[in-house]
């Protein structure tokens, strides 16, 4: 017992101010958000990254650089109101098609959502390229399969999506509560046989198959 105590004092956690410095340095150096677990793993034994982050967040409040939460990770990002100064740093991105943007919004608000559900909402078939583009941007990933006939794969948004759009979590999507209250996020089955989004999708089956395969690879 005495030995254990001696050992613990040997590996005493650094003072909180020092822990804050460490978390700051690690977050500064990382382009990707860093989880609390990873911070704890990289900081000296006994550190409390979560506590350090609380102080760090306060320190960066109102500054030119802010500490933001992304899912269960944290990142330092420049303040959005100063974007006008950063013309030099702007990364040119491919313009997303209207179909891709709509599909992205549907996935974000309805996740986990199947391709059939997306098509039911949009009233048209979802082309392979649209989903591929979102997967490529790493804004969308495969979720678990639905426990419905055919066990279709589902789509979800990623932490990269949250990071890109400055969202703390998918729950913070604007208007989510209102949409839910209005019943617009309900999965209301169509009355009768109003099956939209069926026609004109020659490569539909193939698509579905490929999604299945991929689902297999990425799925749970």
């Amino acid at each position: 017992m005495a030995e254990r105590e001696a050992e613990e004092s040997l590996f005493e956690a650094p003072p909180l101010a020092e822990q804050e410095r460490m978390a700051e340095a690690i977050l500064f150096a990382s382009a990707e958000p860093v989880t609390v677990a990873e911070l704890n793993a990289r900081m000296p034994h006994g550190s409390d990254a979560a506590e350090a982050l609380v102080h760090l967040k306060k320190r960066y409040e109102g500054r030119g650089v802010n500490l933001v939460r992304v899912g269960d990770a944290w990142a330092l990002r420049t303040a959005p109101d100063l974007g006008f100064l950063m013309q030099k740093e702007v990364v040119e991105t491919r313009k997303l098609s209207r179909a891709a943007i709509e599909t992205l919004a549907i996935i974000a608000y309805h996740q986990p959502v199947t391709r059939a559900e997306i098509e039911e909402i949009r009233g048209v078939s979802v082309s392979r390229g649209t989903v591929d583009q979102l997967l490529e941007l790493e804004w969308v990933r495969f979720g678990r399969r639905k426990m419905t006939p055919g066990r279709p794969v589902t789509y979800m948004v990623t932490d990269e999506f949250l990071d890109h759009f400055g969202l703390e979590s998918a729950r913070d999507l604007p208007g989510l509560k209102e949409l839910r209250a209005a019943g617009l996020l309900d999965n209301r089955p169509p009355a009768g046989n109003l099956a939209l989004g069926q026609g004109g999708a020659e490569d539909d089956d193939e698509d579905a198959e490929e999604a299945e395969d991929q689902g297999e690879m990425f799925g749970d």
């Binding site: 500064f28 990142a75 950063m86 702007v90 949009r122 009233g123 604007p174 617009l184």
Partner: protein, 262 residues
């Protein structure tokens, strides 16, 4: 140019709208999108929309397109057929024998779909209007990669240790592995023994008499020597050096030298 035969319910506004839309038929993302656009001409909240009127507008649009010989994708025509069906449901008194959903239920669901699509469009627009990474806010310009250093550590168990020690301590007692087989006669050894003896084998002699000295007493050794000697005799027979015979099963096996001249 023939005047399109629009239904009398259709307002002048809607007809004009349909004519304007028809030019841009490729611009619609399917029938639901077209319905949503048509619904705007009613200038009311989607919740208060008249589905009946919307159905008329849509059917008017399709008729107009046909008049102008514009090819429409199949799903637009499927929707037109369905809306015609819905229209009849809404206008005719309900058939008590029919168990399907009522016209009102079907209309309500269509209104829900339109409202939902509209909501998703608005959210999509809001989403894209948000501050975006790489456009409005930025990551650190000089991210440092975490350098991974690999450290190799070695380990062993007590059993490893004890096995290692026992290995060392018993090394002196070890005989070479082949020596271990000192109770086994190989065919090569039997051949070596038999070849020089063959000269004396002009007559039929029991194979057992060729066993090496001292191999006949111990049963294990005798078995090994007998097998090896028999195998050697087969080898010699194959070479044409000897002949083999056995009077009956389990009778002694006998060999004799085979003379070149018979």
């Amino acid at each position: 140019m023939a005047e399109p035969n629009l239904d009398n319910v259709t307002s002048v506004d809607a007809r004009r709208a349909a004519e304007a839309l028809i030019v841009d038929v490729d611009g619609f993302e399917g029938p639901l999108d077209l319905l949503l656009t048509l619904s705007r001409t009613q200038k009311v909240d989607l919740r208060a929309i008249s589905v009946l009127q919307l159905a008329e507008q849509y059917l008017g649009f399709i008729r107009e397109a046909k008049t102008l010989r514009i090819e429409l994708a199949a799903d637009y025509l499927v929707m037109a057929a369905w809306l015609a069906f819905l229209k009849s449901r809404l206008l005719l008194p309900p058939d008590p024998a029919d168990e399907g959903p009522s016209g009102e239920e079907l209309a309500a669901h269509l209104a829900f779909q339109l409202e939902r699509l509209q909501a998703m469009r608005e959210q999509a627009a809001q989403l894209m209007a948000r501050d975006q990474k790489g456009r409005d806010f930025f990551v650190c310009g000089v991210p440092e990669d975490v350098t991974r250093t690999r450290r190799i550590t070695h380990t062993a168990t007590l059993l490893d240790l004890m096995q290692a020690y026992s290995r060392i301590r018993t090394r002196d007692d070890f005989r070479p592995y082949t020596m271990d087989r000192d109770r086994v006669l190989t065919m090569e050894q039997a051949l070596d023994r038999m070849r020089p003896l063959l000269g004396f084998a002009g007559d039929w002699t029991d194979l057992s008499s060729y066993l090496p000295e001292g191999w006949g007493d111990d049963p294990g050794m005798r078995r090994s020597a007998t097998a090896a000697t028999f195998a050697a005799s087969l080898e010699l027979a194959k070479e044409g050096r000897i002949e083999i015979r056995q009077a009956e099963t389990y009778a002694p096996i006998q060999i004799r030298r085979k003379n070149a001249d018979g």
